[in-house]
């Protein structure tokens, strides 16, 4: 038994080392981004190339803070990405619940129709959506930014798959006790789907936070832009973006996401602990 334990410790160490090597290789581009953000312009294209800056500089960051209404853009990003995420989680989980746990005629067809909407590239519907939002007078408003994404087929499909795989006996007891669908949904299915909801939440948030074309097209007013669309305003001579500045900007833009994920991924582990699985 004891020898087994030592052996397993060695195995664990080797495993962790291998993972670390793989992680480094996978993260090399990210490391480049971080380090380039601190490089002076002259060093970025210098040859021979280097990983770390020779001189560390904050110039790239200063430029972003002076050229962009920074707080405003980050705030807009939170309202936009957060608003879409909240709305989508509510509407998607309702629809997904009905598709997964309530019997009604035409359910399968409805599911296929919903998934079908995922299959048209958004470039094809962009102009009709824009015209609709423009008719509503919602260009340059948060409503116009958020409403078209307040429910989405991806989220419905995603949650439906999870709701379907939750064991049926979880809620049959409650149903026998006469609980309404709403009760079952709220107090049985939702609490058990926390990992799925968190995953979808992160995905929706990240995607909208990083989305470029949508906020660019829907907000002609620079004050209404998001941090991601705002970064496109940074350009250099001849439209060539100084890479250091671009990296610094994206580093700042990605920081809230990284923190968010850090917080949420702890919840993943907790949700495992509390449900007592494994």
């Amino acid at each position: 038994m004891r020898r087994n334990r030592t052996r397993s410790l060695v195995l664990r160490l080797v495993g962790a080392l291998l993972m670390a090597a793989a992680t480094f290789a996978l993260l090399l581009p990210v490391i480049i981004i971080v380090l380039t953000a601190f490089k002076p312009t002259a060093e970025v294209n210098a040859f021979p190339p280097t990983l770390a800056p020779g001189t560390w500089t904050l110039d790239n960051f200063t430029r972003i803070f002076t050229e962009l209404p920074f707080a405003r853009l980050i705030g807009n990003s939170f309202v936009f990405a957060g608003g879409v995420t909240l709305c989508a989680l509510v509407f998607d989980s309702l629809v997904a619940y009905a598709l997964a746990r309530i019997d009604f005629a035409g359910k399968r067809l409805l599911l296929i129709a919903i998934i079908g909407t995922l299959m048209i590239p958004f470039q094809a519907t962009l102009i009709p959506v824009y015209q609709l939002v423009a008719d509503l007078g919602w260009v340059n408003t948060f409503a116009g930014l958020i409403a078209p994404r307040a429910a989405d087929a991806f989220g419905i499909f995603f949650l439906r798959q999870f709701f379907v795989s939750l064991p049926q006996d979880l809620d049959s007891a409650a149903r026998i006790d006469g609980a309404s669908e709403w009760r079952v949904f709220r107090s049985i299915v939702l609490p058990n789907a926390v990992p799925a909801l968190l995953t979808l939440g992160i995905f929706t948030f990240v995607n909208n936070w990083n989305d470029l074309l949508w906020p660019l097209i829907f907000t002609t007013d620079a004050e209404m832009g998001t941090i991601t669309s705002g970064l496109t305003l940074l350009t250099g001579p001849g439209g060539i973006i100084p890479y250091g500045v671009m990296m610094a900007g994206s580093l700042i833009a990605v920081l809230p996401l990284a923190i968010l994920f850090l917080l949420v991924q702890r919840r993943f582990i907790e949700s495992v602990a509390t449900t007592g699985l494994k």
Binding site: V79, G83, V90, D135, V139, A143, I146, M224, P237
Partner: protein, 422 residues
Amino acid sequence: MKKSWMSAVALGVVAGVSLAGCSGQGGSGEGSSGGPATLTFWHGYTEADGDVLQSIIDDFNASQEDVKIETEVKTWAVIDDTLLTSLSGGNGPDIVAMPAERLPVYAAKDALKSLDGFYADGENADAINDAAAEMEEVEGSKYGVPTGFVPLSVFYNKALFAEAGVTEFPTTWDEWVATAEKLTIDEDGDGTPEQYGLALADHETVANGVWPSLFYGNGGAIVDGGEAAIDSPENVEALTYWADAVNTGKISPTGLSGIDTDELYSSGKAAMTIGGPWMSFVSADAGIDYGIAAIPAGPVDQASSAIGVSMAVTAQADDAAQAGAEAFFSYFFSPEVAAEWSLGSGWPPLTDDVDPAAVAENPTVAALTEIAPTSRALLPGVVNSSDVLAAMDEATQKALAGGDPAELLAAAQEKIEASLAD
């Protein structure tokens, strides 16, 4: 604004469902009715040139009371990506600036208003440089006015020239290639130089102009009088000449795009690059002591494809807006403003009546003004310019990778004929 019944349903339902709370107050104050006509102007001048343009517009706004121009600065790529959508919803700009080769597409699809009236009797319109005005013509009508027209030129690294003992900048192709060979250094002799004489892009070249310039130099063209002309013997000769210089002389790496050439030059790994006026800033940023020279003369001609930018009035503008825009154009091309813009943008003057002495204080402008007469508009009036340029890029990139120039240009000819016929 018309509201379709769908919109009414959407408004009622979506607001009712939940979004009332989500919607915020967006948009800055709109110009109130009764005041001056307010025009929106999108452009992509984001550097010092943008500041100068803004102050010109401010002065224009202050100079009269009928028109007020509000600018929205975006990048050129963003303008191209969002213009169609915003016009389709009636929220686009009234005036828009764009790379000149994009203008014919929008004009042909009725997105822009004809400016023939302005060219016929607008104040200062007759001062506009003819070669620059040629960019604006589509199917016999003019749809824009130039805001930029500048020849591509060669930027070179003076330190590397001095190291190689080169004192004179070459003036003919043969001298140019010889100089480039001198500046190409392969220290370890492995066949891959550590330093290249020239960074020659073979696709997506700066303003798509590198190969047109070289073809003009040998008396060729891409499209001539509305007909595809890329497979001419002159072009085959020119492409063979350069493919040979790159492949046997190793003067440049292959597979470079315009952006790659800028990078290679800024990293000090290439002694010369073909670029636009902004390369002076790029050089300075990279700590390179640079010189500017005209693209050396080819066997037949000295010519250079121009980087062009145009501004146009969109279909969204009503008659009053168009009149306001034309008033602004007249102001923009008045001699003092034209000189101010030239100095501020770092590009040569766009009108013939600017005194060269007025722009002599900026050495880049002075150098470019000197070579300006060699500049030619890129594919004026060609609606499918992006397809034509893609066909050209494929031929040049494949030729530098070792393909047969005659065959490649013949294939490009076929594709260009097809896209011109569309």
